[in-house]
Symmetry: C2
Subunit: 129 residues, 2 copies
DNA sequence: CTGTATCCCTGTAGATACTG
DNA sequence: CAGTATCTACAGGGATACAG
């Protein structure tokens, strides 16, 4: 991004703005795990065994840019320890995530060809500051 | 779709399932307008002047397949009258959409480079059955 | 009036190899 | 341990023209 222009982001409604933050193939899972406690990169890779290096970093960078998580580096030289943690703004998504999770579960009970692995309880820890 | 296979959809959590239904470049706007009242195709095209033919039909078909809206055709031959209407399941998204809209608006007040055209009031009609 | 059929462009994500 | 650099693949979305 040459020059660092400030491009005014325009949304038709707040829903689009919120979707821009939480949609992304792995973001709900990342938010769920980070809701429990701060996590190192290797923790997240264990929790999401099939995500690729590149995409993990990418999604975390986006969440960081949106101020949903913080990224802290410990150590002067390799090997580094990098810790990601939910911000207060990130925690403020808790109620929305739980409601969305419940709605999806409710839907799954009515569609035989749909299955959901983890229930909304995984997101409730986000609310415990 | 040859054979009509039933492929079991797997989600890690309900959030992903819900996102699958409401994400899509134009779906929040479509849901907002359909929340007011049933709408004809031409109504929706007026409301969303920049959407293309193809994509409008596409997004409506997806919402229909997900049982969020119904599609009814009136008339024996062209010109047809096609009316789209929110289902009860679609209306059950109301609270979530309002919360998401509020969160997005709140966020916009803190980010100078972000603007939201319409506020959450546009979604409140969804709740009035 | 509505909807389909093409063709094309771009963004998102995956695989793999490499660096500090 | 964490992250970057390429290259590749695919789906979503857009433009246009055509059909019932």
């Amino acid at each position: 991004m040459l020059g660092g222009h400030h491009v005014k982001k325009l949304y038709n409604n707040g829903v689009e703005a919120t979707l821009g933050v939480i949609s992304g193939k792995w973001k709900p899972q990342l938010l769920c795990h980070l809701g429990n406690r701060p996590q190192r990169t290797c923790d997240l890779r264990q929790a999401l065994p099939t995500i690729s290096q590149k995409v993990l970093t990418q999604q975390l960078r986006e969440l960081e840019a949106d101020a949903i998580i913080t990224r802290r580096v410990y150590g002067e030289r390799a090997p580094f320890k990098v810790v990601y943690e939910l911000t207060d703004l990130g925690r403020s998504l808790g109620q929305i995530l739980i409601q969305m999770s419940l709605w999806g579960e409710q839907r799954a009970t009515q569609l035989p060809d749909m299955e959901i692995r983890n229930d909304h309880a995984g997101f409730t820890h986000i609310l415990e500051n």
